[in-house]
Amino acid sequence: RASSATAAPRRPFGEGSGMSLLDPKALPEVLGEAVSPGVRVVTLLNRSGLQLGSAGNNAAAATIAAIASKVWQSHEKVDDAGALGCLLIECSEGRLAIKSIASFLVACCADASVPFGALKSKVEMLHASLQWPLQHIGQ
């Protein structure tokens, strides 16, 4: 399912370019694998905070994507901090996990009933599933 997130080029830029494109129909299915009781929305976004796809409560996904990007970039760019692997955010009415996948970010938002360990595992699972296809986007 993860490999189907990138399709064979249907409209390549020039003949024989072999550029990989993202299959927009497959992405919500892959992200939906992380949706379980208590998980509100899972969204894949670029570093500018724009969504590529989501699963779950799509109405909230755009706002979560924009803020997740902002928070990630603020914590990522600090000197001498080493590579940032994952962010877990606890709020009074819910939780958010953010992880980078290639040049993108995945954010998983849940209510407080979802343990942090489970939330972290979900974004790591998505990282494992999507790392290879997302690395080849546009190549």
Partner: protein
């Protein structure tokens, strides 16, 4: 100003490298552990103070804490407005235990928190 309760909680933070309590502008009010990592943690604490307002717009209520998993350390920031409690622990530390102790740590900072709030209120009047 630091309560004995707060000091007594520190030995329970297994894997702790550095602990800082800073105000909203990054000025250090309390410190414990390795001073070599203080500058890095202080910068990250100021970052948290700036981003916690954005996090509050997620529609998930107020931001309580953020845990950042870096390559060589785990950093936990907790909101104790107007203060920020920041902890740097080993990358392989049991972060669950650290998060479990956070409510007690935040509660133990209440005297300092209230003192800083009073000072901020007074300086706002002057």
């Amino acid at each position: 100003m630091t309560s004995k309760t707060f000091q007594s909680l520190l030995p329970r933070l297994v894997g702790l490298k550095t602990l800082l309590v800073c105000d909203g502008e990054g000025a250090i009010l309390l410190r414990a552990g390795d001073s070599g990592s203080e500058l890095r943690l202080q910068r990250l604490s100021a970052t948290f103070a700036q981003t916690t307002e954005h996090t509050g717009k997620l529609g998930l209520g107020k931001n309580r804490h953020i845990t950042a998993f870096y390559e060589d350390a785990i950093i936990v920031h907790a909101s104790c407005l107007p203060l920020v409690l920041s902890l740097m622990v080993d990358a392989d530390a049991n972060v669950g235990l650290i998060l479990d102790e956070l409510p007690q740590l935040v509660a133990a900072l209440a005297p300092l928190q209230q003192h800083v709030e009073r000072l901020n209120t007074q300086s706002g009047r002057d």
